[in-house]
Symmetry: C2
Subunit: 249 residues, 2 copies
């Protein structure tokens, strides 16, 4: 059985705030004032504060000293950052999962793809598809069984979710047509144990999303490099924004 988890108000608060952001009730760049949220959620400022720290870990929120927290404002450069990191993680996760997957796990993933097919056929809303999409990848990371890898994934997961939401909003059809096929391919390779090709396929899966977003958000045209040996495309530099390197020395 899965172990039960007691969580506490901070996690609850984080969940609510995250929901609000995803549902668009709080626009990008908006200030998240602690007192406001505290009274709104009916918890103390301390708990809200801790919740905001959780969201900062997920990259959904950016906060500065004595300047409060704001919803992150994602631009074209962020697409590159997030998806480049995600591609590297996904490559590792998928390959590791392939090595450890039990038939039951593969069946679960296959069932998720089946659910996506049905949802697509039933003309379900795209956010429903997106939920299945995210669940699929969560399952893959879970199968990989590497808690550090999962943590790293959680560091970009919410941002990916946000990006895919805007992708859906701007380019509906394209997402719907690609999602199911790509995941079905992934499952097939995973079941077949085709490890060498899997890494590339997982990266390509992520990279295709990146390209679609780059096109929609109108960033500088991506270099469209051939990708036979990994993602070689250089990302445009960007200020390191968040300071505070751990200072062990």
């Amino acid at each position: 059985m899965r172990r039960a988890q007691r969580r506490g108000l901070a996690h609850e608060a984080a969940d609510r705030i995250r929901e609000s952001i995803f549902e668009g009730h709080v626009p990008p760049g908006a200030a998240l004032r602690e007192v406001e949220l505290a009274s709104s959620l009916d918890v103390s400022r301390g708990s809200v504060r801790e919740g905001l720290a959780i969201l900062e870990r997920e990259g959904l929120v950016h906060s500065e000293w004595h300047r409060g927290a704001r919803v992150i404002d994602l631009g074209p450069d962020d697409v590159d950052e997030v998806y480049t990191v995600r591609a590297a993680l996904e490559r590792l996760a998928t390959r590791t999962a392939a090595a450890l997957a039990t038939p039951e796990r593969v069946a679960e993933l296959s069932a998720l793809v089946g659910a996506m097919e049905r949802a697509l056929a039933d003309g379900a809303e795209s956010p429903v598809l997106l939920s299945l999409d995210m669940a699929f990848h969560d399952r893959v990371y879970e199968t990989a069984g590497n808690s550090r890898l999962t943590d790293a994934w959680h560091g970009v997961r919410s941002q990916v979710y946000l990006f895919q939401l805007t992708r859906i909003r701007l380019g509906h059809a394209q997402y719907r047509s690609a999602v199911v096929d790509e995941h079905r391919d992934l499952v097939r390779m995973l079941a077949h144990g085709d490890t060498p090709a899997l890494g590339d396929a997982a990266e390509e899966h992520v990279d295709s999303a990146r390209r679609a977003l780059a096109r929609l958000l109108g960033g500088a045209p991506p270099p469209a490099e051939r990708r036979a040996d990994g993602p070689a495309d250089p990302l445009r530099g960007r200020d390191p924004r968040r300071g505070s390197e751990p200072s062990n020395g």
Copy 2:
């Protein structure tokens, strides 16, 4: 100029506690009691609490609901987890850095290698070498200019530091003999812009550390797979310990 940073007591507390752990004053698995630390550091429990959250983000500390925080206890399985993730990150970071590096940046890295050579020749303590080692990689990530990538790195950095410390403690000579050469190679490739080989070299650099540690900690013998197209070795599964997946749906 580098922007000035005001940090606050939480970061200060985190730094002190981190130091204590690195210097071995707090053994692995030991409980980190909030009241104790608070009186010891002469700050309030709230700040200590926030500091512990920071350390948890770095993977140095593990805490459970109403059960407090403990220093993480690293075993053979954790070596695989940490270094497998690190290899993936380092691959991306090094390749990206190669694409963006200015001559000045390469010179800085080269200077760090020079400092390592001098330290080695002067018979400096190994922890000094390790500091330069970490500084080198920090610099690489900084050059890559991807804040998400840097965040992910910070998620394993302290654990890597801890592992390298035990590596030094157990297998002194081997680390000293390998470090300088490997970093010099990295700089050479980076200066030369030899991108395709760089990714593999960076991965190999990390993987050699992983193997050394696996040997020293006496884990199950690693599968010693040929690594021509990436790290294919499956990691042994492990309980997902930390729960709390972000629950957006």
